[in-house]
């Protein structure tokens, strides 16, 4: 072995400068760039194909008509998705109202208040919620949760009947249970991102608050929450994106009734659920199929917008004090 040449075990010299070795450099570069470009192409192709396939439904019912007409009647081949849109909005709203406060509370507790030793186990437990598959939530929701909650829901429905969208009889599969399941499913991601954002609060801010005599809670209120507000909003938006797209668990527990629900305790339908549920019968009927793909497209666009807004907030929150990202290799 010549002096000054470093050899890895059995391999050629690390500094091998043969022409073959040099030729591999641009090759790797172009292969990797190609893969990255493929992602962009894929998403573009994705959008165009969905649009082409959904076009017949939009041509027949109009863009506005498809989204805002309150009439989804498979037997008459009339597809106005308003009941699905309303169902999606109601269930997602329930998910956010229940899920986000709980998620923020867990994030606060884990990152600011709990004993050091409990931090890791609690984080893992919350993350395990995300590991449970959607279909298992659905199974548990319809067989265990929905029947058990029925009495409580009836009481809620009777007691708070003065509120809009509350009151009347409670059916066993219903929008509220669907929203509750969604709340459980979005909790881990909202909690994880809130925690990440809270971790970026400068220690000086917190120490300053404590030094001024603030209690722990006052420290959270004046140092942690204002600093991480934008990031928490982003986390909630990401949760909303997840909730809107949630399919299988919702299909199982919501009852799949294509009407605008009278109350949150009646059966409903969502954009995602209609696709999963009616797909089989639609395979042989072009109009119905186009309508379902159009529902998918509406869902796609909705989640795109929501995620874009969410990313903006989260990135703004963690910019500046994020872990310093290495710049990679020079040249």
């Amino acid at each position: 072995m010549e002096a000054g040449t470093l050899r890895a075990r059995g391999g050629p010299a690390i500094g091998d400068r043969s022409s073959r070795s040099r030729a591999l450099d641009p090759l790797l570069r172009w292969v990797l760039t190609g893969l990255a470009a493929l992602i962009l192409l894929l998403i573009g192709f994705f959008f165009v194909r969905l649009f082409i396939e959904a076009k017949p439904a939009f041509d027949k019912f109009g863009y506005i008509g498809f989204v805002f007409d309150n009439n989804w009647d498979v037997s008459k081949e009339i597809f106005g998705a308003w009941p699905l849109v309303v169902g999606t909005l109601i269930t997602s709203a329930i998910a956010l109202v229940i899920g986000v406060p709980v998620a923020i509370a867990t994030a606060l507790y884990i990152s600011e208040l709990c004993p050091r030793g409990a931090r890791q186990p609690l984080t893992i437990l919350i993350e395990l919620l995300a590991a449970v598959p959607s279909v298992v939530y659905g199974l548990w929701g319809i067989i265990v949760l929905a029947p058990k909650l029925h009495g409580v829901e009836q009481w809620l429905s009777d007691t708070f009947s003065f509120l809009p969208l509350v009151g009347g009889p409670v059916s066993i599969p219903n929008c509220f249970v669907a929203g509750l399941i969604m709340a459980i499913m979005i909790l881990p991601i909202v909690s994880a991102i809130s925690r990440e954002v809270m971790a970026t609060v400068p220690a000086q801010d917190k120490e300053a608050a404590l030094a001024l005599g603030a209690t722990r809670w006052e420290m959270i209120r004046i140092a942690v929450l204002p600093y991480s507000r934008s990031g928490i909003s982003g986390a909630a938006m990401l949760g909303l994106g997840r909730a809107i797209g949630e399919t299988i668990a919702v299909t199982i527990v919501i009852g799949n009734a294509p009407n605008v629900p009278d109350s949150i305790f009646s059966q409903g339908y969502t954009l995602a659920a209609v696709i999963a549920n009616e797909f089989n019968e639609a395979a042989s009927d072009p109009t119905h199929r186009a309508a379902l793909i159009a529902a998918g497209l509406v869902l796609f666009v909705l989640t795109l917008i929501i995620n874009a807004i969410a990313r903006y907030y989260v990135n703004r929150a963690s910019r500046g004090n994020k872990r310093t990202v290495p710049t990679g290799m020079a040249g």
């Binding site: 690390i14 500094g15 969905l50 884990i110 598959p133 959607s134 067989i143 722990r216 299988i248 796609f300």
Partner: protein, 287 residues
């Protein structure tokens, strides 16, 4: 000389109540997990009888419903193929982002669209593969490999994002040392960067596999459903999530019980993968 004013009773109460509330809500957040695992074990173990794992579903509504063999085989095969597509692809994109793209405009665009993909509902990925591969009848209608493609699309952003984070943690000094010895870039990538980041890459991949294994919606329109065990990925394939979904919609106790048994199997599988991911992560020298 001034003395510090004691914290007033009201402020102390607010502090205590608020902290108590966060603790209570944290407990509330963990409760569903405990309930779900409790019911899975209680209802699922009963279904795990001798031939539960060794027989296929019979398709009979009444009488012996059969086991879940075809579902287990289908899930493993489809997820394996999906991983074979998504993991190299995802790590490749992450390598581009970290080693070549850096903060450039194109890299940021790619990064943004990977984030966008993370947020696309899985049912939409299923529809897409249905339109592109099933409607066009490429190699028949429904097939296991089409299910794998849908799952791979779902895994791709997860693999890319987690890999990017890990690759970013590889110290620049290692890269610079190798370059200073005259190593070409590709050798730095394969001999220095990838081996250093390996445990993290494995963790990210395992998490993506765990996510894909539990997905139902994309398989609904792509791999469809079949009772018998199928090893040929060009044919229709059963899978655990789809088996559960089909069984739970039947108002028949024995089918619902099979759903619990299959759900327990699926959750055990997913939790094992997640646990493995954590263990590998712990062995990492980075971060």
């Amino acid at each position: 000389m001034t003395t510090l004013a004691p914290v007033s009773g009201r402020r102390r109460t607010v502090d205590r109540v608020s902290r108590g509330l966060t603790l209570a809500l944290t407990v509330v957040a963990v409760l569903p997990l405990i309930f779900i695992i409790y019911y899975l074990i209680k209802e699922g173990i009963g279904a795990w009888s001798g031939d539960f794992f060794t027989t296929d579903p019979t398709g009979r509504f009444l009488g012996d419903p059969g086991g879940i063999k075809s579902a287990i085989v289908g899930t493993i095969l489809m997820v394996a193929l999906a991983s074979a597509i998504a993991i190299p692809f995802g790590i490749g994109v992450a390598l581009y982002l970290v080693e070549y793209g850096k903060g450039g405009r194109f890299a940021n665009l790619v990064r943004y669209f990977v984030d966008v993909m993370t947020g696309v509902p899985s049912v939409v990925f299923g529809l897409f593969v249905y339109i592109v591969l099933v409607v066009t009848k490429i190699g028949g209608t429904f097939a296991g490999w089409k299910g794998s493609v849908a799952l791979a699309l779902l895994m791709l952003p997860v693999v890319t994002r987690t890999s990017e984070v890990v690759l970013n943690l590889v110290p620049d000094s290692l890269r610079e040392a190798a370059l200073a010895l005259g190593a070409p870039r590709w050798r730095v990538v394969f001999r220095i960067v990838l081996p250093t980041a390996l445990p993290g890459l494995v963790t990210g991949s395992l998490l993506a596999i765990a996510r894909a294994a539990g997905e139902t919606a994309p398989l609904l329109f792509t791999a469809a459903f079949v009772f018998g065990t199928q090893f040929d990925l060009s044919q229709r394939m059963n899978s655990l999530p789809l088996q559960i979904f089909n069984d739970v919609s039947q108002a028949q106790d024995r089918l619902v019980q099979r759903a619990w048994g299959a759900a327990l199997t699926l959750v055990a599988l997913v939790l094992l993968l997640s646990l493995a991911a954590r263990l590998v992560q712990r062995r990492s020298r980075l971060a």
